[in-house]
Amino acid sequence: MSISKDTENFDGFAISASKLTRNFGQLTAVSALDLTVEKQTIYGFLGPNGSGKTTAIRLLTGLLKPTSGQVSVLGCNLPQEANKLRLQIGYMTQKFSLYDDLTVTENLQFISRIYGLTANEQKARLSELLSIYQLTRLSKQLAGSMSGGQKQRLALAAAVLHKPKLLFLDEPTSAVDPQNRREFWEQLFDLCDQGTTILVSSHYMDEAERCHKLAILEDGIKKADDSPQALITKLPAKIVEIQANDLRHIKDNLTKLPQVISAAQLGTHLRVLINETVAQPIDFLQQQPCLTNKDKFTLVRASLEDVFVTCTGKEAISR
């Protein structure tokens, strides 16, 4: 099961989906999702809880059948070729889904038998994985007794055991501390360098920023997708930080204005997103009755969080 980019005869995308929709009764979990994921990249799904990230991943892995739309993953048309796809993808679920009452080694042995590795392959691959994911010392420990970070490394080891070409990670770092998260992302980049395409969902901005490309989801609708840098540059808004007294009162007044996309208090500052149709945002703000000339205004660079708020906030305001 070696990874080579040349043998595939499809259009160069690991995933391509068009108008992918999934309903659960009245609820539309994923709505007309168009998606292309290039090979050997890390693609991120960023969105709040309930935005359809998990459903989208389940549709792309063939676990759920789409209500409508086309999906092609690694050249397999879903849902017809879901079984063929299964050998080529790895899936790390949101919740730890290996066996708590088996040891690290037993869990990995189980997975390798399921994927049909021979005894020799299994032995070599296991010791390789145990050392990559720093599990050698823990190999005899029951999975249930390990910490969040250790469980997550085991889950990743299990998901990549059969060297999948495409790896799905559903909120992989939700139960992990920041240090472990850094190490985890380094491991993801290593996998990516070795040729694996990775699709990861998250609601952490710092993680989203590491992705090569990013889709922002809200209520099952894709609000934006591009590289994090492009998203920030293209942001149709300007950001002003205000230093003043009684920020709460100012915030309440500003959010009523149609030009203001959002206002959020960050410590002593108020971070205000103003629609780019306003040419002079500082002048615009100074004219507001709730603010005075004495207050400090600074124009600042946009961050991914601003992109996220702009993309998902419009909807909230228009409601």
Binding site: T61, Y91, S97, L102, R113
Partner: protein, 382 residues
């Protein structure tokens, strides 16, 4: 095919490992048959002994006392109370102090000498005087088993009372009791118990097996792997087949050593019958596990199957005595067919093939059940 076997093997090894860590379940495997066998085999007894009864002795003669002793000597009843009036005796039955009362009339001696069963070589008279019974039983008839035990005393011989040969009635039929001449209920119960215990444990273990994977979130991982549903089903069943065989060995072994239940049939026949039933029960458990949403639900459904398996399968009450509708239900249960098979093999040394219908039924049940379970278990989350 080879990789399919490897995947089944993976599931089997995993199940065995999990089972060996689960001390509770492991203990149940051994304790359920041990405890149930001791409980049922000692407790269930259709030959009722020592029923507590009272006596109202109006006669107060040596004869009436000898009569009491003779009845007592049958072992069916024990005289625990004595009452002065019939009214007090009736009260004692109402309050469950005694199950029945023997009322001995004043003229018991006259009745006895004229009674046709004692016999003076005369044919039974139709005259009222001679056809009068010697004494009367007042019985709490609500429990049919106790009532019929006391009814069996109606024609007990009373030859000792008068030191004369009884005017024995010649029976209409000669009855020869095969296979259990001493009429010990344990002989019938122990093989039946195999069916009940296997129904209980096999269905319980497997019905929880797949639901547990779902509850713990393992299923989400399993369905993204190349593992097919039928492979998962078979892999889940195999370890429990061995457990079932261990349990059968415990029950029949203890039955043989402790309760002297004869083992007349061949081991191969026993193994075949048991294997068929274990598979049928396991498959039934799998079907339940594809329906149940939680382990609690699967447990409730197990009880739903277990109760008719105990009451309707012929384990406790004869199949022939049930109304037709109940017989249809009984026919649907694997336990009914297995009880016929195992009683046949253990007690009467028949072969499974000779009881072809029951054998085929278990085989068909297993195949259809496995198919239903595999079809119901979806590899998608829809």
């Amino acid at each position: 095919m080879n990789s399919s076997l490897l995947r089944i093997q993976a599931i089997v090894i995993k199940e065995l490992l999990q089972l060996s860590r689960d001390k509770m379940t492991f203990g149940m495997v051994i304790m359920i048959p041990l405890v149930q066998l001791l409980l049922f085999a000692f407790a269930i007894n259709t030959n009722v002994r020592d029923i507590p009864v009272g006596v109202v002795d109006h006669s107060q003669t040596a004869l009436s006392r000898v009569l009491q002793q003779t009845v007592s000597a049958t072992g069916v009843i024990t005289f625990t109370h004595s009452y002065h009036s019939i009214k007090a005796a009736q009260m004692a039955i109402d309050t469950s102090e005694v199950r029945a009362v023997l009322i001995i009339p004043k003229d018991v001696s006259q009745r006895l000498v004229r009674h046709p069963s004692v016999g003076f070589g005369l044919p039974p008279s139709s005259k009222e005087e001679t056809s009068r019974p010697i004494a009367q039983w007042l019985v709490d008839g609500s429990d049919t088993m106790i009532a019929s035990s006391i009814k069996s005393l109606r024609n007990m011989p009373l030859s000792e009372l008068l030191d004369k040969p009884t005017n024995r009635n010649t029976p209409t039929f000669e009855v020869t009791l095969l296979y259990n001449p001493e009429q010990r209920s344990v002989v019938n119960i122990v093989p039946g118990l195999v069916a009940v215990i296997l129904t209980m444990t096999m269905i319980m273990f497997t019905s929880a097996a797949i639901v547990r994977e779902q509850e713990h979130g393992n299923m989400e991982m399993l369905i993204t792997t190349p593992l097919a549903s039928l492979e998962l089903m078979i892999g889940k069943i195999v370890p429990y087949i061995f457990i079932g065989i261990i349990q059968v060995a415990i029950i029949l072994g203890m039955g043989y050593w402790l309760f002297n239940v004869p083992f007349n049939g061949g081991f191969a026949q026993l193994a075949l019958a048991t294997l068929l039933f274990i598979c049928a029960s396991l498959v039934l458990g799998l079907v339940i596990s594809t329906i149940a949403k939680s382990q609690l639900q699967s447990m409730q459904m197990t009880v739903f199957i277990l109760l008719p398996s105990i009451l309707l399968s012929g384990f406790m009450f004869p199949y022939e005595g049930m109304p037709e509708a109940a017989q249809y239900i009984a026919e649907a249960l694997p336990a009914t067919h297995f009880i016929r098979l195992i009683r046949g093999v253990v007690l009467r040394d028949v072969t499974v093939v000779e009881m072809g219908f029951d054998m085929l039924w278990l085989v068909a049940f297993t195949c259809i059940g496995l198919l239903v379970a595999a079809l119901r278990f979806k590899k998608t989350l829809d």
